[in-house]
Subunit: 161 residues, 2 copies
Amino acid sequence: MISQKSKYALRALLALARIAPGETMRIAAIAARETIPKKFLEQILLDLKRAGFVASRRGKHGGYLLLRSPEEIVFGDVLRLMEGPFVPLGCLSRGGNRPCTDCRDRALCAVRRVFAKVAAASDEILDGTTLSDLLADPKGGSAVASDASMGIARSISLVKM
Amino acid sequence: MISQKSKYALRALLALARIAPGETMRIAAIAARETIPKKFLEQILLDLKRAGFVASRRGKHGGYLLLRSPEEIVFGDVLRLMEGPFVPLGCLSRGGNRPCTDCRDRALCAVRRVFAKVAAASDEILDGTTLSDLLADPKGGSAVASDASMGIARSISLVKM
DNA sequence: GCATTTATCTACAAAATCTATAGACTATTA
DNA sequence: TAATAGTCTATAGATTTTGTAGATAAATGC
């Protein structure tokens, strides 16, 4: 389950993506517009700033602005910043293959292997979607085709183990 | 991130899948074999029992056994039992389309749409993997092909929105 | 310079969730 | 009827999440 913090971060970035390039938006304005607790949002924006997603200006006419263009702001990057590695198992940190501490036999590793697939499939979507995908087309979201019905998922190609 | 509880549940089921059909395995034995706190495992097994995955016998020579065959025990079902709906956003309960309470504008819905894809991709893997997949082939896990390298994910076909 | 505005920082607190433990109880078997 | 093994309810400790408080620092306009 994604945290409120991540959701707030994505919404704040989307709010900033909607203003004119070079302009700023105040924390209070973002908070009001997106229904986010202001003091909580402050911390989130600082995290986003330290990670280089946004910049800020102080004083009158201050506020926040995007530091990268919406095409360059990838969902997966934002989520990994806010949540730590977005993986279903602790031992599955991005690219890492270190065993879990309580992984004594093949059984757990088998479990791990399944969740590695889940993580890879999630990353594929999250790393293939940027802010601009959401701005451009309210129906779409990423380059991935989407025309099947809920229960009838068919195949995923090339999921890394 | 998957909970310890789910991991324990899957490991316990795998342990039961490895004994001869019709035989039982005691809680204490499962706990020792899989390094799971015994009293915690008790609760987990009760949940699994109420959901119809396992049955139990009391008294001497009692214990637990699988109620369904390993081919019929689907990862996704176990996880949804232990974790609630395995989706990245609260408003994405299985099949449901009810809006989030704080989903005021298109922006958040756009966020929601991306995570719907993630949920669908996860479900596809988790619902396509059974206990028997793990028992049969320690290298495999599900029917999904897996031969790409980590960073080079390519395409996912037919992810439901 | 001074007041105002706005972001920055550190610490803390309330709430929820996760993980696990305790202990009394019930059913089964020998 | 004693021993074994699952059942049930309550609770406690730890961690994480979510949010708040209050002081500080920088920029701007007058």
